[in-house]
């Protein structure tokens, strides 16, 4: 009984919040809080994954009691207190700044990095579209009831009306409108149905926005490297810049293939197109129709987030710490957190683009009616969708970490060759093929064409992969790297190497 009452109260609180506060404010607060907390715990997870891959256990001593809070102070809790202990350590460390740094840029760089990365979360479609209705008093004298109802929502710009306001049957009341212009006029009660997207910002160019803001993060890296006035930082900054700019291209092209296929730049719409099943069981996720694009995207977001095996901007063996060599305390922590925030953002974009967002075939109740799968009449369902989305994101992030502790770092020329000689041509070909298939089906997106277009795209992907594998054997080899160079008057000079 108590549980039922508790749930009742919970739903009532949710409803009150929904009616009185614009949804995006609450969603933004929740999303940013959850992401920042997740970042803290991702660092713990990273250390745990590192230890597991190396046959260790990982941090497991600091519980949430921190050795001071009574009762729980001796509980270890698998090291769950570690992120807070680390954070506290960062806050209280000396904020050292060398004399020769460019003071303004040095301070601004980590902020730019963090801001750019964290604001790109804004357009992610966490829970589809929420539809609900309210009872509204509309004066009888008003001719255009719809426009009047819409006018009432003027502080809630994300709310759009669905259909006409419906009069409440058998409940004709003469209420006094609060609006002074139409005061003391007879009024009727109407049921107004409206919907709003369950996300922070409903941007119809969401994909573009994410790519643009993520590209801004490179300013943080390059400014940090430059302002440090340290050659290792500078080299690290240069490497990171070259890396991020090069991998931006195949990333954009892979995303473009999906955009062409779905016919929209809106992440919400892209998710909507994936919210149905083929043969009743196979979800129509883009990963099944565009596996090659997914692989390209996954490789590129590793480079974009400056993660291993593309983390040569912070190659300890060569560059001390890379662009954040000179940073300490909370400034360093911002760079560090931005890396993980970037992982969250890129992974959630990956989920939205390739894994159907919040859609999950084993939980069919997540989808709305077949003709409008995004719409949900229950607020709790939207929250469950967001949780599914979040879980998928975390799984992708686990892949990031798994890769980091498995693969050695690329050499710089290898990394550049991979982008310019490998990924960019493949991505261009893929884009051409996708465009061709879409053209073949008269420009209709694949949810209209059903499984046929999906299968065609899958076959096209496979063929393209085989073609690339075949053709790359015939291409001329890359110029020799690491070749020995004769130096004038050096005693280490050698006779020309005989050709084997």
């Amino acid at each position: 009984m108590d549980q039922v009452k508790f749930m009742d109260a919970f739903v009532q609180i949710l409803n009150w919040l929904e009616i009185h506060i614009p949804a995006w404010i609450i969603i933004a607060l929740v999303v940013f809080t959850v992401s920042l907390l997740s970042i803290a715990y991702l660092i713990l997870l990273e250390r745990k994954v590192a230890s597991w891959a190396q046959d260790r256990i990982g941090p497991n001593r600091v519980g949430l009691g921190f050795g001071i809070i009574p009762v729980v102070k001796n509980w270890k809790m698998w090291g769950l207190g570690q992120p807070f202990a680390d954070g506290l350590k960062f806050l209280f460390k000396e904020d050292y700044r060398a004399k020769a740094v460019d003071v303004v840029l040095f301070s601004v760089a980590p902020m730019i990095m963090m801001t750019a990365v964290i604001i790109s979360i804004a357009v992610l479609p966490w829970g589809g579209i929420r539809q609900t209705s309210v009872t509204m008093t509309i004066p009888a004298a008003v001719a255009d009831k719809t426009a009047y109802a819409q006018q009432q929502f003027k502080s809630y710009s994300e709310r759009t009306l669905v259909g006409q306001p419906v009069p409440v049957a058998g409940n004709d009341v003469y209420a006094v409108a609060t609006n002074t212009a139409v005061a003391n006029l007879p009024a009727d009660q109407y049921t107004v149905t409206y919907r709003y997207p369950f996300q922070i910002a409903n941007l119809n160019i969401g994909v573009l926005y994410v790519l643009a803001t993520l590209a801004l993060a490179v300013y943080g890296v390059v400014l940090g490297g430059w302002a440090s006035n340290n050659k290792y930082s500078f080299l690290g900054g240069l490497r990171a810049t070259a890396n991020m700019i090069s991998y931006e291209i195949p990333l954009g092209l892979a995303v473009l293939a999906i955009v062409v296929m779905c016919g929209s730049l809106d992440l919400g719409t892209i998710v909507e197109k994936q919210c149905h099943s083929w043969l009743g069981i196979i979800p129509a996720w883009n990963i099944f129709t565009q596996p090659l694009a997914f692989v390209l995207f996954l490789v590129c977001i590793h480079a974009e987030a400056n993660r291993s095996p593309f983390d040569l901007a912070e190659a300890e063996q060569e560059l001390v710490g890379g662009y954040h060599t000179e940073y300490s305390s909370m400034r360093f922590a911002l760079f560090f957190l931005a890396e993980y925030a970037g992982m969250i953002t890129t992974s959630s974009v990956c989920v939205a683009l390739f894994f159907g967002g919040w859609d999950f075939p084993l939980l069919p109740f997540l989808r709305g009616p077949a003709n409008d799968p995004m719409v949900s009449n229950w607020l709790v369902l939207c929250i469950v969708r967001a949780l599914v989305f979040y879980t998928k994101t975390m799984l992708i992030i686990f892949i990031f970490m798994w890769v980091r502790w498995s693969l050695p770092r690329f050499r710089f020329d290898q990394m550049m060759a991979l982008a310019w000689r490998g990924l960019i041509p493949i991505a261009l070909l893929l884009l051409m093929v996708t465009t061709g298939v879409v053209y073949w089906y008269n420009g209709q997106s694949y949810d209209q064409m059903g499984a046929r277009m999906g299968l065609t795209l899958l076959a096209a992907n496979m063929l393209l992969t085989l073609l690339v594998l075949g053709v790359s054997r015939l291409l001329p080899a890359a110029p020799a790297t690491n070749r020995r160079v004769q130096v004038a008057n050096s005693r280490f000079n050698f006779a020309p190497i005989p050709k084997a």
Partner: protein, 178 residues
């Protein structure tokens, strides 16, 4: 350096899966996943949870140590009457290569010996635990115990005086010396 000194190594030829990199990436990911599975699911790891688990409790074959062989903190032995055995002959401090033993001799209050140590300080931070003092001692007064977990919050605490060294004897009296 002559041309004949240069050893020309042939790079190993890459197989098809090496050239396309991704198959080998998957292989590597499989290896790490195997390790993660072993640690997380089967709890099979290479870690010792130190203060709770100790190496001396394990057999040597699985990473343990023979604590009986370990030269740890010193102790000053007592005789049957509870007096320090030391006769302040300064043999140990003479033998000590690290000069960490400081003894001040005084006239013995007991009739069976001439001198006894009024002060006997060992700087455990300077000590290299070589066991020379133990070898040099003519009356088996100074000995190294097997205690290895020696910690303190200050340097001063690590300078063991006579009382502390005798206390170490009381704590370790049941252990047989090395």
């Amino acid at each position: 350096m002559k041309p004949s000194d240069i050893l020309q190594l042939q790079e190993p030829t890459l197989s098809l899966t090496d050239q396309f990199y991704l198959p080998q990436v998957l292989k590597g990911l499989g290896t790490t996943m195997k390790h993660m599975f072993k640690v997380v699911v089967q709890n099979d790891h290479r870690v010792m949870q130190y203060p709770e688990e100790r190496r001396e409790d394990l057999p040597v074959e699985s990473g343990g140590i023979l604590q009986k062989n370990y030269r740890g903190v010193h102790r000053l032995n007592k005789d049957e009457e509870g007096r320090p055995k030391c006769v302040a002959c300064l043999m140990c401090s003479t033998a000590c290569p690290a000069h960490c033993i400081h003894i001040e001799a005084a006239e013995s209050p007991w009739p069976d010996r001439e001198k006894y140590p009024a002060k006997f300080d060992i700087d455990e931070l300077r000590c290299i635990y070589c066991g020379m003092c133990e070898e040099a001692c003519p009356c088996d007064a100074i000995e190294l115990t097997h205690t290895y977990d020696l910690v303190a919050l200050t340097r001063q605490e690590m300078i063991f005086d006579k009382a502390k060294l005798l206390r170490v004897f009381d704590e370790t009296v049941k252990e047989e010396p090395m």
